[in-house]
């Protein structure tokens, strides 16, 4: 797995951006950017080149599922790996995310080991 990949973390809780960012840095990823919701993320994704999106679901104005759908519908972004990290654990949520093309799904609260494994899994399948 390329530790130089550029990762965009999307979450409306700044604490979570900080937590996920620190855990990624512990996993030796150094190119980490942040966005506070789906629309801000889309702007960044369309302006720069990213290798992975790690996003929360429950955000305003654009939530994580809608961000995922926008990415999959965008010809330039459609193959971008996308990991959902969310408290949404109901079956219909997981199914909807999977059907929308999520690469992997992590339920909160999570630990560093789970994050590392899911990252490895996404890029092993890429």
């Amino acid at each position: 797995m390329n530790k130089n990949m550029k990762i965009l973390i999307v979450d409306d809780y700044k604490t979570m951006l900080r937590v996920i960012g620190n855990l990624l840095r512990q996993l030796e990823f150094t190119h980490i950017d942040e966005a506070l919701d789906g629309s801000e993320a889309l702007v960044k994704l369309r302006q720069g080149k990213y290798d992975l999106v790690i996003s929360d679901w429950n955000m305003e104005p654009m939530n994580g599922l809608d961000l995922l759908k926008e990415i999959r519908a965008d010809a330039k972004l459609s193959s971008l790996p996308f990991i959902m990290i969310t408290a949404e654990s109901k079956t219909d949520n997981v199914v909807a995310a999977k059907q929308a093309g999520v690469s992997n799904y992590i339920v909160k609260p999570f630990n560093a080991e789970t994050l590392g494994k899911k990252l490895a899994s996404v890029f092993a399948n890429a």
């Binding site: 809780y13 604490t15 512990q26 654990s89 909807a96 339920v107 909160k108 999570f110």
Partner: protein, 203 residues
């Protein structure tokens, strides 16, 4: 038709008159019973309305003006306080992690592991924040319902009309849109293993 009025063959006009009189008597008796039932039902409904009016008159405007806003503010304060505390914990963990470069390999590993555990534990703030948000939304919905009830009975109670309540959150519709539900309660929330199994099972 009652058994004693059953048709048993040709009748004289006297017989027919007698039968009609019996029929009228039966219908009158039935109507009286139906009326009695109706009156009893109306009395029951009237008593219920009286009880609701009495309950509403004791709610008072402080529920809307004081209790619910106070509860909402307190919950939001909890969320802000935990966010501040979490950020301070994170500051401390980052400081500890920054010192890793100066120690032995074993020290580095131990400090990094400790910092990791602190970061992991700090995810609680996001979950509690989302739970607080759900409670605040529920309180607003209760506030709206109380407003609606009071407005309904305002004229009869002689109370000054309440202000137009804010729009209630739209009920979840079966429109094919999958909505966010927020954190599930412990025991209800799926584990990571269950999520993984679900992901594997979806084509």
């Amino acid at each position: 038709m009652p058994h004693h009025l059953a048709n048993t063959g040709p009748r004289s006009s006297t017989d027919m008159q007698s039968l009609i009189e019996q029929l009228i008597c039966v219908l009158r008796t039935r109507r009286q019973a139906a009326e009695a039932t109706l009156v009893a039902e109306l009395q029951s409904i009237s008593g219920y309305i009286q009880s609701v009016r009495s309950d509403l008159s004791t709610i008072g405007p402080e529920v809307k003006s004081q209790y619910i806003p106070t509860a909402t503010d307190e919950l939001e304060a909890i969320s802000e306080t935990t966010a501040e505390a979490t950020n301070r914990i994170m500051d401390a963990a980052e400081s500890i992690e920054a010192m890793v470069s100066g120690g032995t390999t074993a020290d580095k590993a131990a400090l990094t592991a400790a910092a990791t555990q602190i970061y992991e534990a700090c995810t609680f703030q996001d979950l509690t924040g989302q739970r607080v948000r759900k409670i605040v939304t529920a309180l607003h919905a209760i506030e709206v319902k109380i407003d609606e009830l009071i407005a309904t009975f305002t004229a009869r109670l002689g109370v000054t009309p309440v202000e137009q309540p804010p729009a209630a959150p739209a009920p979840e519709e079966d429109d094919g849109v999958v909505r966010a539900h927020g954190p599930q309660l412990p025991g209800v929330a799926k584990t990571q293993a269950e999520i993984d199994a679900l992901m594997e099972g979806i084509g």
